[in-house]
Amino acid sequence: MSGVPDENDVRMRVALIAGSEPTLAEAYDTYGPVVYGMALQVTRDRGAAEDIAQDVFVDLWRRPERFDPHRAPLRGWLCMIARRRGIDWLRRRRAQESARLAGMDPPPPLLEDDLVDSTAYKQVRNAVADLPSPHREAIFLAYYQGLTYREVAQALNIPEGTAKWRLRNALRRIGERLTAEGFADGLNVE
């Protein structure tokens, strides 16, 4: 819940409702990498990530009034939808390949070269990468694979209490480090 809506989000919403194609292009150009990146991070499948990105923006265009700038910023809202659709896609695929235990599939590696080159994004990625590896694994399984902490515990063969603690502690560590590096309420991207 963000309280005061972002002025630019409000402007874009009004323009999208009015059917402004340039604003749709602006939304894609601004948030396409965030939506596609999240979908790819979850699915590890470029085709699926492109389909998800397309669905997210087509839905935004068809029903822009569903976005409520009083509840969340547009970037976070689109990113959340992309993540949820990615996890849906993963679960459908897992149901089709039910023989294997969900979290244990080794994901194909993603190339680093198309990551968006921004100092702020790099700071966040470094903060995640520098976590102790047990913390990083727990974050990966819960956030990108959509597992509950109980499933994380099972996948990593650790007690459930430890899985919960790792997730909370990992987020705290990242938050403290980024705050120390000057992050405030927003993620300022150059």
């Binding site: 194609e21 340039p22 265009w61 976070g76 990113c79 968006v116 974050i139 993620l187």
Partner: protein, 332 residues
């Protein structure tokens, strides 16, 4: 976790939507009363958003044209797009016109009523007259915010009630159409049992929705065939109601954190929607296919089981909870 214990380590899984549903519900309940846990949820939630956004990757350049073409195929661009207030005004006019259509329809029906027909039971009300008094009261919430003074008339007959209702509704339509751009975001208490405040644009959709449903109640009392509004209005009603459902599920004690329903609405005003079954976002556990007009009647509490022409797949308990709560989203 019980209500009097802090969420502690569950906060991490909670903000990542990685709690089993019952625990997510406990955390949400507790945080609604505990500023300390609410603050930690907000803080760690922000970290989760940073992590998500930092995964940004440049998509293949050709995806841009594909996405834009698919979007324009789904909904053509506006013909005469102008920026800013002009478009809020056009949205206000659009909402005003849709509401006006429903008001005019009900007004026509009422104008043809005989005195005995005004006393027929109608919908959940003892008489058509009571129904119109109720509708006038619900409209009054919007009238007050739009700066319209409710006329204080002494009630004498059904036709007086009709006049009083129509005057107020007409004044709402007039003000919204003339000054809508400055009014649409103003918060209004929605009509209904739960005291929810939403922007006036949504309250106008609700007014049109309730006016249509009460016209249907009157038609049913007169044995007239039902009438379904245009797809545009049905789509507005669906988009108005769906975002309210996650909290309504939670409030009704039927919240299912981490679960969602896929709703395939067919026919005019239809489309596919994913609806979270609690304020905690979830994965799809069931699918319901029905027509958009059926769904709107369900929302109004005017469609009762057994449902015909409804296809249901997946978790039946989740579907039952969803349909039960959805049927409470309309007004009396």
């Amino acid at each position: 976790m019980t209500d009097d214990r802090h969420a502690d380590d569950l906060v991490g899984p909670y903000v990542m939507a990685a709690c089993p549903p019952d625990e997510a519900r406990s955390v949400a309940d507790h945080a609604s009363r505990c500023p300390k846990c609410a603050a930690e949820i907000a803080e760690l939630g922000r970290v989760v958003e940073w992590i998500g956004v930092a995964a940004a990757r440049a998509p293949a350049p050709e995806l841009r044209a594909r996405v834009l073409a698919a979007a324009i195929a789904a909904r053509p661009a506006g013909d005469a797009y102008e920026d800013g207030e002009a478009h809020e005004s056009s949205e206000a006019r659009r909402l005003g016109e849709l509401y006006h259509g429903q008001v005019a329809d009900l007004d026509r029906l009422l104008s043809g009523l005989s005195q005995p027909q005004w006393l027929l039971p109608s919908g959940p009300h003892r008489s058509v007259r009571d129904l119109i008094v109720h509708l006038h009261g619900s409209d009054g919430l919007v009238a007050a915010v739009a700066g319209i003074d409710a006329p204080v008339d002494r009630r004498a007959s059904g036709s007086d009630d009709q006049l009083r209702w129509r005057r107020q509704a007409g004044a709402i339509i007039d003000v919204v159409t003339r000054r809508g751009a400055r009014l649409l975001d103003r918060p209004v208490r929605l009509a209904g049992r739960a005291a929810i405040r939403r922007p006036l644009r949504e309250a106008l959709v609700q007014r049109g929705f309730e006016t249509w449903i009460h016209a249907e109640d009157v038609r049913a009392a007169l044995d007239l065939p039902p009438r379904t509004p245009a797809g545009e209005q049905l789509a507005d009603i669906v988009e108005f109601a769906l975002p309210l459902l996650p909290l309504a599920m939670e409030t009704a004690g039927r919240g299912r954190p981490g679960q969602a329903i896929r709703l395939l609405l067919t026919g005019s005003g239809g489309g596919t929607r994913t609806v979270d079954l609690s304020p905690v976002a979830g994965a799809v556990v069931a699918e319901i296919a029905m027509s958009a007009q059926q769904f709107c009647r369900l929302l109004a509490g005017r469609l009762h089981p057994p449902f015909t022409d409804v296809r249901i797949d997946g978790d039946i308990g989740a579907v039952d909870d969803f349909l039960t709560v959805a049927a409470t989203m309309g007004c009396d």
